[in-house]
């Protein structure tokens, strides 16, 4: 049962309440549209995050195998000596983008994928096993950055959906029903008052006719 708003039972208050109801419905429309878009984006992000996670796990397992084989082939000490030269700073471009009012971060691993920045070791002294491991490690790094972005999107979108849902529910279950109930109550009260007035006038008319 919606709670009635405490107002004076006057026609002015009824007009005010009708305006409030109109406004509340407009707000509800915007909030609902936004919620549907946010939900769609959230589901898409969830799917992408799962895909990225699978990709990362798969890539990591292949990388581990490739490094083990390369280590076995060259010997770990020799491989480590070669790989010291290939150490490079990773550059991640951090920006932001906006999805229906939610500002979410955007990460991108910079550098040309065609250039093999991680392959600065001697290609003569090493085998193709190490090249394979280097390529896989690059793929894994990309997957990590992608997953980091998606996880953060996921959290931010979820928080915004919760906030928007609270507003939608407040409008749908508290504000609008309360306004509607009060408007109905006032309308009925005025109709009742009109009927009483009519009955009174009729009675007065009969009394005058009798005299």
């Amino acid at each position: 049962m919606p709670q009635l708003i405490k107002v004076r039972p006057t026609k002015i208050e009824l007009v005010k309440l009708k305006r409030r109801l109109f406004l509340a419905r407009r707000v509800q429309k915007i909030v609902k549209d936004r919620l549907s878009i946010l939900t769609m984006e959230f589901l898409q992000t969830a799917r992408d995050a799962v895909e990225a996670q699978i990709k990362l796990l798969d890539g990591s397992s292949r990388l581990y195998k490739a490094v083990s084989i390369a280590g076995g082939y060259h010997g770990y000490i020799a491989m480590e000596r070669e790989l010291i030269a290939s150490e490079a700073d990773l550059k991640v471009a951090v920006g932001s983008r906006n999805i229906a009012g939610v500002r979410i971060p955007s990460f991108e691993l910079t550098g040309n994928p065609e250039k093999f920045e991680m392959m600065r070791y001697s290609l003569v002294d090493t085998s193709s096993w190490l090249d394979h491991a280097a390529l896989l490690s690059k793929e894994c790094l990309r997957a990590i950055v992608e997953l980091a972005e998606l996880q953060r999107d996921f959290e931010l979108l979820a928080m915004e959906i919760n906030r928007t849902k609270r507003i939608t529910n407040a409008l749908e279950y508290v504000i609008i029903p309360g306004l509607q109930a009060t408007i109905n109550y006032l309308s009925m009260k005025f109709e009742e008052r009109d009927r009483e007035e009519k009955a009174r006038l009729k009675r007065v008319k009969v009394l005058i006719a009798l005299e």
Binding site: R19, R20, K29, M40, E41, Q44, S96, A100, S106
Partner: protein, 157 residues
Amino acid sequence: MPLLVQERQGKLQVKQSPYESMLQECLRGELRLVNTGLPQSQKRLMDLLSEEHPHVVCNDGSTHFFKKNELEYLASVLDTDEQRTLLLPMLIELGANQAEAAIICEAQVEEKVISEALNMPVKCEEGRIRIYKPQLALLRKKLKTTTVYVFSPKIVA
């Protein structure tokens, strides 16, 4: 909604109840919030491709970054002349009909991009390409950063 209008010193003074002010502020806030991500101006694909960190400045002063792989995908779909014509980010307008969305387009190039992304023919009518929600999800999956949502004021009318 104005409840009481008084003329004071030749200026109109509008008085509102606190409840209505709160609701109106909520409406304004929501509209402001959903449209903060709109770019101040769109950039051509050709220009963005030459930038080191391709981005546009939004209405609230923040920056909207584009993913390079998305730009490269668009460049692969379009020829050089079309790359000069395509303005990014593309605007997706959400209207009164909840089942549909419209992509605002000025040239035929958007039509080509959308039909390539969705893998189906689309038609531009009155400056809008109308697509359904499932297609919108597909489009957003492919063009995450090169499209932005616009909540049109028409939806509140």
